[in-house]
Symmetry: C2
Subunit: 217 residues, 2 copies
């Protein structure tokens, strides 16, 4: 490992630790630089923006999500159960950051930001995030119409993004309300899913999926 990587890692670790302990706004570049024993300008040599440091955090949370979700996926092939597991595992991975979630949200939501989950800059991490839900769908044994099965991962990911937004605003203890919403929602999904095969439902479903497809750039 060269000197360069060493510096970069020191910055990353210092930043991520501070993000967890102090939150987004309280973690200033000057503080990171000081704790990492480097100069302010040097931090900017490696990360063009404070937001780019958040991207590192985003990756960590995501890989933790994958770890947490693996045993759940191994335990059942029922899609609603897998969905609930994936959602709750995601919330678990996010939980250390709830206190400063608003700051992260502001930083992440803007399309011009490097960390926007919808933006072009984060296409790779987004694909990774979607793949969790692709695994959830692919590993399930439920009967799902082909068109739906194909688009479902992205739609579930979008749902998850909405849930995460709800979670940011949720100040119930332990974000219990969000967890309950995830559980009940997943169960409702299980109630409704079988109807997707009904002939007269498929027409509307087809149209809905077509709209969703067109909406994606």
């Amino acid at each position: 490992m060269g000197k360069s990587d060493e510096t970069r890692n020191k910055i990353t670790e210092t930043a991520l630790t501070s993000f967890r302990e102090r939150g987004y706004e309280q973690t200033t570049i000057r503080l990171i630089a000081s704790e990492a024993g480097i100069s302010v300008g040097n931090a900017y040599y490696y990360f063009p923006t404070k937001n780019h440091l958040v991207q590192e955090l985003y990756l960590r949370v995501q890989s933790e999500h994958r770890e947490r979700v693996a045993p759940i996926f191994a335990s059942t092939t029922d899609l609603p159960a897998r969905l609930e597991g994936a959602l709750l595992a995601g919330l678990d991975s996010l939980s250390p950051y709830h206190d400063s979630a608003p700051g992260f949200l502001s930083a992440a939501i803007s399309p011009t930001s490097a960390v926007s989950p919808f933006g072009a800059d984060a296409a790779a991490p987004r694909e990774l995030a979607i793949s969790v839900f692709r695994d959830a769908v692919d590993g399930s044994t439920n009967a799902i119409p082909a068109e739906l099965r194909q688009q479902l991962p992205q739609l579930l990911w979008l749902l998850y993004m909405g849930l995460a937004l709800f979670w940011v605003y949720d100040n119930s203890p332990g974000q219990k309300r969000t967890r309950r919403l995830a559980s009940r929602g997943s169960k409702l999904f299980g109630m409704v899913l079988p109807f997707a095969r009904l002939p007269f439902v498929r027409g509307a479903l087809k149209e809905a999926l077509d709209i969703a497809a067109e909406a994606q750039s």
Copy 2:
């Protein structure tokens, strides 16, 4: 009108004009103060935060939304048509600000912000925004189950918030893609609405509405 109101108005007008012409980030407090012929500190005497100036913008856009939607509501009692009209009118009201929408979004999305559409600080303007969709529902002649009719305004407003988010990210010319999504979505809503009365659909619908009700604080 006292001197105080005069100053306040000068600040508001200067800020809103600049927001429209220069966008959110380019509109600095120093610029507003200079153009309004006052000092920086004086602006802060009237508005505790730059975000609070955005709230004024929010109100303007909303009242324009109401104006635009009135003739549409007068022209039809069909709920899907009224919904489409309300959505498109909303987009029309937003359109002057699309270029700098990311900045506004970042400022508005955080729960700690005074202008967050979901936060407690903006409860009054939110109710006003929801009332547009309440009018859309109340003035319609479609047959809608009572439980659904009661919660529909808030759900449609939530949908509208999602559409607005999509609109921020939409860089198709004239945000055509968002408009198309609104139109097709409204029509699909019209296709699906009659099924809400079907007995075996009502069970799932009841559960969905119950979840939605529980999710709201």
